[in-house]
Assembly symmetry: C2
């Protein structure tokens, strides 16, 4: 019997993301052996706020952000249109993280887990859903790392529903795609949105699923960091990382719905833009040497691949 | 009597922008004393093409692009909706340039001068207009440079119509504005679009105006480059330049209609993105020291100023 039955989803999920945030921060600080996150509590004028935690100039991470937010209030018209709803009162909370390593041999990672509730005028929940996922963006491709990252997420998915992994893996490949470059942002992961309870699927089941997934974040990513963080790299490889980061910025500023939504709804800019890498480079018409390691990555990004 | 009367606007303007492109390239190469532009001719599948000229890693300019394009064909539906027209056949040409100096003491400049024609099914011109302008983005503020840049453009404007400068200066301040940061991209210049002939204003008059303006580009910008290029700067000032360039990227990828339009209409990515600086930096929640030179710039960007 689910431990979540008869509990309030909102309170449970908020507590979970705050716990996860602390746990991830502690784990990253251990890897950094000395470098610490700065922590910014912020308040949203219209209701709620968040905790933005940033590690800057670490030994392993050039820039890492691990944020939580819990906001509530009334949807403005553009948000109502976006969600196709007549209702105004909402609550939203989420954990959002992006880690940009110093070394080009360590992949960048992004994860986000969020929960949303809409209320009628009497304050009754009329709609609720989960969204989220996690994806990996390597600058050099280690196929075993990609397979590991996917395997951890597949294992969690499979323990809930064997349809989940193939479905959400595909959704991730479709979402994190730089259409103007005709290439994926990275090697994917999983992505899901508007996961709503139905007559078949309870909200407790969904809560357990998203909780389990987010809890597996460190298992999916940190072994890769530990394996690659001491690899040697040269200046040219660092430049390549910065060029690829340019693509990351392009995705986030041109295509990412979360970023644009945050900008349009007067979100906290510095918390939204914590996703942008510290140092980035745009070289005119840069093309990697055919059959180089850099080219090998680009070829994989042109066509999404099954990693398991 | 106008030298343009009885001439074909399209041919004259195309010749002019190609001449201007060469002239600007030669002038920049003289300043660079040795560094050369690379030149890429490209063909647009649907009709026309362009010449993209890029200077990379110069002594004065870290990255400079001076592009011309002449494209024609049929507007797709989204372009028709954008221009609010029933007509499909179009011709468009333009000169577009962005120069990102190496030194943070030298301002970045952008200029664009374009001409557009729409045709009915018999090939008769049913609509024609000019657009363009030029704006300056300093990283450190030298008020006399801002005044010089505006003065050159005001002088040209005034010689055609004394209403032009105040009107187009204001339009520039409004257009090159990072709404999500609540600050201007730079210290402005002039910006105009849909300049169409009327019963009062001939197309020859407009052609002369835009031709004169674009011809004044070197006079508006290069004296500033020569004056500031040998100023000393330190690593912190270079970092500040890279942080400000982050705002430049944000504007171009989030707000700039030309960039987004290019992406949506399958334009040549590398020519569109020549506007992006080579090295860019996003520091979390960076704020300049109060009353520092950096702060002085930010304060000016918060409120558009009259420079003349």
């Amino acid at each position: 019997m689910s431990k979540f039955i008869r509990n309030n989803k909102k309170e449970i999920f908020v507590k979970h993301i705050l716990d996860m945030q602390q746990q991830i921060i502690v784990t990253v600080e251990e890897i950094e052996s000395g470098e610490k996150f700065i922590k910014d509590n912020w308040v949203r004028e219209e209701g709620g706020g968040g905790l933005t935690c940033i590690l800057n100039n670490g030994k392993v991470f050039e820039k890492a952000g691990v944020n939580t937010s819990q906001v509530h209030g009334k949807l403005n018209e553009s948000m109502q249109a976006y969600f196709k709803t007549e209702y105004q009162d909402f609550f939203a909370c989420g954990l959002s993280l992006v880690m940009h390593p110093l070394s080009p041999m360590v992949p960048t990672v992004h994860a986000n887990y969020r929960y949303f509730e809409l209320y009628d005028e009497q304050g009754k929940v009329v709609s609720q859903w989960f969204g989220g996922g996690s994806d990996l963006t390597p600058h050099y491709l280690f196929e075993e790392d990609a397979a590991h990252f996917h395997q951890v997420q597949k294992d969690i998915c499979d323990s809930f529903d064997t349809d989940f992994y193939p479905k959400y893996k595909k959704a991730c490949d479709q979402y994190f795609y730089n259409h103007h470059r005709k290439e994926a942002r990275g090697i994917g992961g999983i992505f899901f949105d508007y996961l709503k309870p139905t007559s078949q699927v309870s909200s407790s089941f969904l809560l357990e699923f998203v909780t389990a997934l987010s809890s597996s974040f460190t298992a999916s990513y940190l072994p890769i960091v530990l394996k690659r963080k001491n690899l040697h790299y040269n200046e040219e490889q660092k430049k390549w990382q910065e060029i690829r980061r340019g693509r990351y910025v392009e995705f986030n500023l041109i295509h990412d719905k979360g970023t644009l939504f945050g900008l349009k709804t007067n979100g906290r800019i510095e918390s939204i833009f914590m996703s942008l890498p510290k140092t980035v480079r745009w070289e005119y018409d840069h093309k990697p040497e055919p059959n180089s390691e850099e080219d090998k990555l680009v070829q994989v990004l042109k066509t999404p691949k099954d990693w398991i």
